[in-house]
């Protein structure tokens, strides 16, 4: 499916996609990344996080890794990464938001005569 078909991406999903742009992460690391990128504004609970990850996996935007990247990590942890489609959707949503921000700034900025 085309990336445009996924737009607009719900906020929680977009935060997770953005977190995963930094690489392969497990659930708790995703939560930390989301908190950091949103300056603590977005604080997801565990079930909200895994429910959203499940949805992203089902949509083909995120995939679970078969192997564990960190050898000394708990083997029960699941790691996730963006798929090619997920990367395209994340970029498309970022572009959409960028246009929106540019437009709102242009409209709100006081016009000089």
């Amino acid at each position: 499916m085309d990336a445009a078909g996924f737009l607009p991406v719900p906020q929680a999903q977009f935060h997770i996609l953005v977190a995963l742009t930094s690489g392969e992460l497990h659930g708790y690391a995703i939560m930390q990344a989301v908190e950091q990128s949103s300056n603590g504004v977005v604080a997801m609970g565990p079930a909200t996080l895994y429910g959203t990850v499940k949805r992203l996996c089902a949509s083909g935007l995120v995939e679970e890794l078969a192997r564990r990247p960190a050898r000394n990590d708990d083997q029960r942890r699941r790691y996730y990464r963006l798929t090619t489609l997920g990367r395209a959707v994340c970029l498309a949503e970022a572009d959409r938001l960028e246009r929106l921000v540019r437009q709102s700034r242009a409209n709100l900025r006081p016009r000089t005569a």
């Binding site: 659930g27 997801m44 609970g45 565990p46 079930a47 949805r55």
Partner: protein, 192 residues
């Protein structure tokens, strides 16, 4: 395992079985990480709210997920609507109202954003919606026939029953038309 984590793990049993089987270990690990970072109070503050919000939501989603397809729900709605008509015909109006209300809630819920958001694959939606249209149309015909049999040979039609039959008939007809219009608008797409 610390008592707090054990309690949280026990509470995760409130989630649907499939979700618990897949993410149960991750949830418990996540909670333990939160306790280590924020302390027990901070961890519980975050997870209790999360539990309160997500348990009913995931339970509802598990009812409306793709495995229990639209067709199953529509069949349930039709069965309930038919039972409601039967209950009204038998003079058990309260039972009819309850059955009709449950059918309406299921029908509205099925059409809700929540249900749609849980359907990752769109390839089967056209077929499902057209099936729904067909079933609703059948329900309309059945309710019309039952209504005519029940009321047809009476000298004067009881206003209460007439209203109920009309509501059931027109609701199902409008539902069928809406589903047909929605289904026909959806493009044919190949299964992935």
């Amino acid at each position: 395992m610390p008592a707090g984590t054990a309690l949280y793990r026990a509470l995760t049993r409130l989630y649907p079985k499939a979700f618990r089987a897949r993410y149960g270990d991750d949830l418990a690990l996540h909670f333990a990480d939160l306790v280590a970072r924020d302390g027990p109070v901070g961890a519980w503050r975050r997870t209790m709210l999360d539990l309160l919000v997500t348990v009913p939501r995931y339970r509802l989603e598990s009812i409306m997920n793709t495995r229990r397809t639209t067709a199953t729900l529509v069949a349930l709605v039709v069965a309930l609507a038919t039972a409601a008509v039967g209950a009204f015909a038998a003079g058990v109006a309260p039972l009819g109202v309850i059955a009709l209300a449950v059918a309406a809630v299921l029908a509205i819920g099925e059409r809700s954003r929540l249900a749609r958001s849980m359907r990752p694959a769109r390839h089967a939606q056209r077929r499902h919606v057209l099936w729904a249209a067909g079933l609703l149309a059948s329900c309309a015909v059945v309710s019309l026939v039952i209504g005519l049999i029940d009321l047809g040979d009476r000298a004067s039609w009881p206003a209460g029953r007439l209203v109920v039959y009309n509501i059931v008939f027109f609701t199902t007809v409008i539902g069928a038309l809406a589903c047909a219009a929605t289904g026909l608008r959806r493009p044919h797409t190949a299964a992935p």
